[in-house]
């Protein structure tokens, strides 16, 4: 009885989280242009999507920024984690405190603070400013997922590798890096997701004429969202879902679990 109640509760929360996603997927097949009524089943928005250059450009920008910013953030964040192990306690806790600022700060404050920075430095607003901003808010996600792995690492194995004649870089990649890898990967994935979903910070740091999917959707809200957007987000969502299912079902993973 109790387990049934628990399952129903979990199911209700999942329904709450995924209902809007279901609605958007249904709307992507809606013949009628308005959200308000169902006009019959159609694939036309999926076809129209690939002819809509504005949306495709926004998609390209979004993916480019998400990929580049999370890659750079992963490198800077991982290197920062490694360097922090050699630091004095006090210096380390100050740096971790600073790391937490973009996470705890309101997005709107981060957004306008970066906007004011770019204005006073005279940097032209565009893809570059979006990229710099995304790297900034992505680094904390990387550090927070790599740091716990870093704590578990046994320094003696690294020192043993050095004693046995390995160069520091070789020893790092052979001994330390494999243990950090799961943390690095999840940090990268988290950063990628956050960059992809960000609207507020991009809104303040993008230039005129440069759009990511979020800011494009924001300007479309007033005129009415083009149904191609629903088609595109459904495609992205289903792709990610399929990839995750495939990864979770992969044979190597199963073996490990057993």
């Amino acid at each position: 009885m109790k387990t049934v109640a628990k399952r129903i509760y979990i199911a209700l929360i999942i329904l709450f989280l995924y209902a809007p996603i279901g609605i958007l997927m249904v709307l992507s097949f809606n013949e009628s242009k308005t959200r308000a009524k169902w006009g019959g089943f159609t694939f036309k928005w999926y076809i129209a999507l690939f002819q809509n250059e504005e949306i495709l450009r926004a998609l390209f920008n979004t993916l480019l920024i998400a990929f580049t910013s999370s890659l750079i953030a992963t490198v800077i964040g991982t290197v920062a984690c490694i360097s922090m192990t050699g630091m004095k306690r006090r210096a380390k806790s100050i740096l971790m405190g600073v790391t937490n600022i973009p996470m705890l700060n309101a997005d709107i404050v981060t957004g306008i603070s970066l906007m004011l920075l770019y204005i006073s430095l005279g940097i032209r607003f565009g893809m570059g400013t979006i990229l710099l901003s995304h790297i900034t808010f992505n680094i904390p996600y990387v550090i927070l997922s790599v740091m716990p792995r870093m704590r578990q690492i046994n320094v003696s194995t690294y020192e043993a590798a050095l004693d046995l004649g390995s160069s520091p870089i070789h020893a790092f990649f052979k001994v330390v890096f494999p243990d950090l890898l799961p943390g690095i990967l999840s940090g990268f994935l988290m950063a990628f997701t956050m960059s992809l979903d960000d609207f507020i910070i991009t809104h303040f740091t993008k230039g005129v004429g440069v759009d990511t999917l979020s800011t494009k959707i924001y300007t479309e809200i007033k005129k009415g969202i083009k149904p191609e957007m629903y088609a595109l987000s459904s495609l992205i969502f289903v792709t990610v879902l399929t990839l995750l299912v495939l990864i979770n079902l992969s044979p190597t993973d199963k073996k490990k679990a057993e």
Partner: protein, 272 residues
């Protein structure tokens, strides 16, 4: 690893100073000066003007309600999930992060379709002969939008701190005669404090400062403090006033940071 590697921290330290510390300094500078560059407190005291004070009051009220609702929904959920095998740990986290792969504006917009007078939920309710919902374009819809968007940020820290509690500690309490309620009050709740604090911070601050949810679900009737600041920057272009009002918001952010520094020293209640 060794002191030789100290220089490795340089890129990150430089990055944090340029893109975290200096920008915050810029807000202080703009917030404390007027258009001529002279020192003034007017941008901060502007929060007391009728319109701004009301926006702040409404934002505080709605974000407190949303945080409370998130907490009440998430705590039981996190407790159930925490007892699921560790093997499924990544899967559980994914369930809550996956929705973010669909754009947040679109997901919030989809709630319009769900909540509208002739929307999906009301169709279902009519079909079941139940009274219909009339919450679209009301503060209740804004709260729903906030809860919907920020619930994962409450669930994940709670789940992480609850999953770390050693089951033996709970069993020991039960063996020593504590009943379920007493075990919860004396063992589980205190041990999950880092997660609670981190969850509250991660929901309260975004909810307090959001500027799109109210426009999408509240019908634009209710101006939140986030909307006011956004307009100062993008429409009126009064960066000084916008910065001054942001500084008022930063008071709440700093309080939250101090709270999480006290209660969550080791980052135990982190999201990941």
């Amino acid at each position: 690893m060794t002191s030789k590697n100290k220089w490795l921290s340089t890129p990150y330290i430089v990055w944090s100073v340029v893109f975290i510390i200096v920008p915050l300094g810029m807000i202080l500078y703009y917030g404390l000066t007027d258009a001529t560059g002279a020192f003034t407190l007017d941008n901060i005291t502007a929060i007391a003007s009728a319109g701004h004070a009301k926006a702040l009051r409404v934002s505080l009220f709605l974000s407190l309600v949303s945080t409370l609702v998130c907490f009440l929904l998430a705590y039981p959920l996190a407790m159930i999930l925490a007892r699921v095998q560790m093997k499924r740990h990544n899967f559980i986290i994914l369930i809550f992060i996956l929705p973010m792969w669909m754009n947040f504006l679109l997901r919030t917009l989809a709630w319009q379709t769900l909540l509208e007078k002739n929307g999906v939920i009301n169709h279902v309710l009519t079909f079941l002969h139940l009274p219909t919902l009339k919450i679209i374009n009301t503060p209740a819809a804004i709260v729903l939008g906030m809860v919907y968007n920020f619930l994962p940020f409450m669930v994940l820290p709670l789940y992480n701190s609850l999953a770390k509690i050693d089951i033996n500690v709970i069993n020991a309490a039960r063996d020593l005669g504590a009943n379920q309620f007493y075990t919860f009050i004396r063992i589980i709740l205190p041990l999950s404090v880092p997660g609670i604090i981190s969850g509250i911070t991660m929901v309260f601050i975004p909810a307090l400062t959001t500027f799109v949810i109210s426009a999408l679900l509240g019908g634009g009737k209710l101006l939140l403090i986030g909307d006011v600041i956004e307009q100062e920057f993008t429409r009126t272009s009064n960066w000084h006033l916008g910065s001054g009002l942001s500084m008022v918001l930063m008071i709440f952010i700093v309080i939250n940071m101090i709270l999480s520094a006290i209660f969550d020293k080791d980052g135990e209640g982190s999201m990941l």
